[in-house]
């Protein structure tokens, strides 16, 4: 395996892991509310930016991380409660605008509270690259992929063993039936927003040492994470993970072998291809309307 190919693969998997986590957040929210939360990318931004500024304010790194994630979770909850819940039943276009408005709002707030500059975050365990077959592997990359694996495993356990997790799954499959057995779909919605926000924030913290963070980092990440969710099948959290890796690797390979200029277009071409050929994604359930 050429070292060049390996290099692209490594960077593809690294960034793909982030897309996977963002896509995961999309799927969790979509599952419980049929809403595509365009603000998902902003939670990634919040995670990174908040941590950076907390560290600058003197907090030790672990504390900064915890507080940053907490902040994102609270904001995610607030988004669900104050922006999405009141708009239940509104047409799809309106809800899309609400979440886009939320993402713009959060970005504006970040620029105001913090600043518009790029920021660095120290890597968790040093930044000396490890040599693997001629390719350079950053230790932070291991953190990123490892973080993704842990989160995915934790979520699997959560959905299959925790009562709340199972309740969330039930709500996703059949909201009416879930309500009838006493599950509060309202709370499931809020919970899913909080959960997705937390996951997004963690993703942002993991990747910040590799790519700089700034107030506008959320837009593209959000859109590409969305691509991951679509590839895997909207509403299939594990599919989003697979989708994220697919998009990340495709992007890295395109940048490496074809043209780095069109790297960003890859995720969107993938979106279009999937939507046209197989909208339900690789693993999604086929949808049909009852008439």
């Amino acid at each position: 395996m050429s070292s060049q190919f390996l290099q692209f693969l490594i960077s593809g998997i690294t960034v793909g892991a982030i897309y996977a986590l963002v896509g995961l957040g999309f799927s969790i929210v979509y599952n419980s509310s049929q809403v595509i939360n365009f603000a998902q990318g902003e939670f990634v931004m919040l995670g990174g930016m908040a941590t950076v500024f907390l560290i600058a304010a003197g907090a030790p790194m672990p504390l900064a991380v915890v507080l940053a994630v907490l902040l994102a979770v609270v904001i995610g909850f607030a988004l669900g409660k104050f922006a999405i819940e009141p708009a239940r039943g509104a047409p799809v276009v309106s809800i899309i605008i609400i979440t886009i408005g939320a993402s713009i709002f959060l970005r504006g707030a970040a620029m105001l509270v913090w600043d518009r500059n790029f920021h660095n975050m120290p890597a968790f365990s040093g930044s000396d690259p490890i040599d693997i077959g001629g390719a350079a592997l950053l230790p932070q990359s291991i953190w990123v992929v490892g973080g993704m694996v842990i989160i995915v495993a934790a979520l699997q356990l959560f959905f299959s063993h925790a009562r709340i997790g199972k309740a969330m799954l039930a709500t996703a499959f059949n909201p009416l039936a879930a309500q009838l057995v006493g599950i509060s779909t309202r709370w499931m919605l809020l919970l899913s927003f909080a959960l997705a926000a937390g996951i997004g924030a963690i993703a942002g913290i993991l990747i910040a040492p590799i790519t700089l963070t700034y107030a506008g980092v959320g837009i593209m990440l959000g859109l590409k994470g969305f691509s991951a969710a679509i590839v895997g099948g909207l509403g299939n959290p594990m599919g989003a993970v697979a989708g994220g890796l697919v998009v990340g690797i495709a992007e890295a390979m395109t940048a490496g072998y074809i043209s780095s200029a069109y790297k960003d277009a890859v995720a969107f071409l993938i979106i279009l291809a999937v939507l046209v050929i197989r909208p339900s994604g690789l693993f999604g359930r086929r949808q049909s309307d009852r008439v």
């Binding site: 799809v92 899309i96 408005g101 709002f105 620029m111 105001l112 859109l223 909207l234 279009l272």
Partner: protein, 314 residues
């Protein structure tokens, strides 16, 4: 039936009067500039409203068509020396053809998936415009020659005001005619229940395609006019955020309301001008406005207003 006509001719008349009298009250060129931008945005939004409000579809990528129209005009007139009007028409035709090709696969999608498909389309156009610097001058943009027809050149705010105002009036008239015709009813039927429309004989695929093409053509025309007016364009004309701005104008003003689109375009073009003073707060307030209006007035301003008046009368 007569009752149906009154709001239409009344509205058109009111619009014509406003356009005719506005120059008398605008203090200086800055205001003319803002009003011209309102007009151009309104033209795009009327087309987009036909697609979103009447036919019930979504597009998060219409700025792509706007950008393509702008660059078509810019390229054809500056690099190839074409006459401005020909460039505008050919650009619109090319964009229309592109929209026609895209419509087939994309309009099979519904709801969120359609939103995503159009978003992807718009972003790809934006990236291409950014990257093909050889043609487009890349992210730095390119200059555009002035609009010229048969030796006469359009210069300055006042001239452009009348050009845009006239175009807006004509576009509004055409759109209102369309809506109140059997075609307009068919579009609204598709929105109401696509399957029922299909079953009673409406060729839904054809109608959706045509309204998509018309809205793309209008966006292209708006883009071409903008290019000549502003004299300089950048790929940001086609960016995702611009598409969102258009959609927000439509939804804010009122879906399925032509005059609502004009109102929405006016508010969201003027607002950032005022907010520019609050430079740092601009993004924040815009986001808040978008959320607030959609949460509290999901039907948009004009329909909500109409509803209020109707209830008062009862």
């Amino acid at each position: 039936m007569k009752a149906l006509l009154a709001p239409r001719t009344g509205g058109l008349l009111a619009l014509a009067i406003v356009i005719a009298l506005l120059p008398a009250v605008l203090p200086n060129n800055f205001y003319f500039n803002v009003v011209i931008l309102v007009g151009l945005n309104a033209i795009v939004c009327i087309g987009l409203n036909l697609l979103i409000g009447y036919a019930g579809q979504i597009s998060l990528g219409h700025a792509g068509f706007f950008g393509l129209g702008a660059y078509a005009s810019a390229l054809l007139t500056s690099s190839y020396g074409w006459p401005s009007l020909a460039a505008l028409v050919v650009g619109a035709a090319a964009v229309g053809a592109l929209a026609f090709l895209l419509a087939r696969p994309i309009l099979k999608l519904k709801g969120h998936y359609l939103a995503m498909g159009t978003l992807g389309m718009g972003v790809i156009i934006s990236i291409v415009l950014n990257q093909e610097a050889g043609f487009t001058g890349g992210p730095d943009g390119m200059p555009v020659p002035a609009f010229a027809v048969l030796g006469w050149t359009a210069y300055g705010e006042r001239t452009w005001y009348w050009i845009v105002g006239g175009t807006l009036l004509v576009t509004t008239w055409l759109a209102l005619n369309l809506i109140e015709s059997p075609v307009g009813r068919a579009l609204r039927a598709i929105h109401g229940s696509e399957i029922a429309a299909e079953v009673i004989g409406v060729k839904t695929e054809r109608f959706k395609t045509l309204v998509f093409v018309i809205s793309a053509v209008l966006a292209s025309v708006g883009g071409s006019m903008f290019a000549h007016y502003s004299g300089f364009i950048t790929p940001s004309e086609a960016e995702f955020f611009h598409s969102i701005a258009f959609v927000t104008m439509v939804v804010l003003g009122g879906m399925a309301s032509i005059f609502g689109s004009i109102l929405g375009a006016a508010i969201l073009t003027v607002l950032p001008q005022f907010l520019a003073v609050f430079h740092d707060y601009e993004t924040l307030v815009l986001g808040a406005v978008m959320m607030g209006v959609m949460i509290f007035l999901p039907k948009g301003l004009l329909p909500s207003l109409a509803e209020l008046l109707r209830r008062r009368r009862l």
